[in-house]
C-alpha cells in the first residue's frame, strides 16, 4: 500500500497535474470542473482523470453541488513532503560545509 507521502509526490510528478494544482491554489476557492477544463488544453476526460489522482492524494477536494462539480485545492499534504526535503536539504548543506572546511585545511 502506498503511504500518503508517496501519493502526494506521485500526484505532483506529472506536469499537467502540477499546473492544475497550481491554478487551483492560486484561485484559492472552489471552482466548477467545467472552468478547470476551459483553462487547460486537455480534454474534459483528461482533466477529470488528473483531478481524481489529485483527490486521492488529498490535494484536491471535489464536491457536487446541484448539477455542478466543484473542486478546491488543499496544500496540507505538501507539508509532509517539505519536511522530508528540508531534512535532507539541511543535512547535505551541513555535510558539504564540513567537506569544504576539510578540503580547506588539507590544502593549506
Amino acid at each position: 500500500m502506498e503511504d500518503s507521502f508517496t501519493k502526494t509526490l506521485k500526484a505532483l510528478a506529472d506536469p499537467s497535474r502540477r499546473k492544475i494544482f497550481h491554478t487551483l491554489i492560486v484561485l484559492a476557492s472552489a471552482i466548477p470542473i467545467t472552468q478547470v477544463v476551459s483553462e487547460f488544453e486537455i480534454s474534459r476526460q483528461g482533466v477529470t482523470k488528473h483531478l481524481k489522482v489529485l483527490e486521492d492524494a488529498g490535494l484536491v477536494h471535489i464536491k457536487t453541488q446541484g448539477r455542478q462539480r466543484y473542486c478546491k485545492a488543499d496544500a496540507k499534504p505538501l507539508q509532509e513532503m517539505n519536511k522530508w526535503l528540508q531534512f535532507y536539504d539541511k543535512f547535505w548543506d551541513d555535510s558539504l560545509n564540513s567537506l569544504t572546511d576539510y578540503l580547506g585545511n588539507k590544502d593549506v
Partner: protein, 137 residues
C-alpha cells in the same frame, strides 16, 4: 536548494584540485574525517557503511553502484528502514577549482514514521543512533 519532486540537488565549488575532492568523498579514511565514520571503498558492489562518530552504531549503509573518477553513485539506506534512496556525486574541474554536483534521489520512498525517527535522530546531530528500531529488530 533545488528540489524537484523527490530529488535534492546541490552544486558547490571547492577551491581544491579535483583529485583531492575525489579522495575526500570516495576513500573511507577521508570520509570519516568530515562526514560519518566510514567503511567505504570506491569499488562497484562494495557494501559500505557509515557509522556515527561517537557511538559506534550503524547509521547508513548501501552499495556502491558507480565509482569511476569523477562520478560516484551509491544506494543510501538508513538503519532500521528498508527505504533505498540514491546518492550521486559528480565532479568537474573548473577554473576556480572543482565543481560538485550532488544529487540525492528517491526521497519520496520514505514514509512518515521514518520521517519522525530521522528528525529525532538528526536533531541529536547523528550522535544518537537511530537504534530504537535497530535494537528492537
Amino acid at each position: 536548494m533545488i528540489a524537484t519532486n523527490d530529488v535534492i540537488t546541490k552544486e558547490v565549488v571547492f577551491n581544491s584540485k579535483i583529485d583531492n575532492v575525489w579522495n575526500a568523498i570516495s576513500i573511507g579514511e577521508e570520509i570519516s574525517k568530515w562526514f560519518l565514520k566510514a567503511d567505504f571503498k570506491p569499488e562497484v558492489g562494495y557494501k559500505y557503511s557509515f557509522r556515527s562518530p561517537n557511538d559506534d552504531c550503524e547509521q547508513i549503509h548501501g552499495e556502491v553502484k558507480e565509482a569511476t573518477p569523477y562520478k560516484l553513485v551509491y544506494t543510501w539506506i538508513v538503519a532500521g528502514t528498508n527505504v533505498e534512496t540514491k546518492v550521486s556525486w559528480e565532479l568537474q574541474s573548473t577554473d576556480e577549482g572543482t565543481q560538485l554536483y550532488l544529487k540525492h534521489s528517491g526521497i519520496a520512498e520514505y514514509d512518515e514514521d521514518t520521517a519522525i525517527k530521522m528528525f529525532e535522530s538528526f536533531n541529536g546531530g547523528w550522535d544518537n543512533c537511530i537504534s530504537g528500531l535497530t535494537d528492537f529488530l
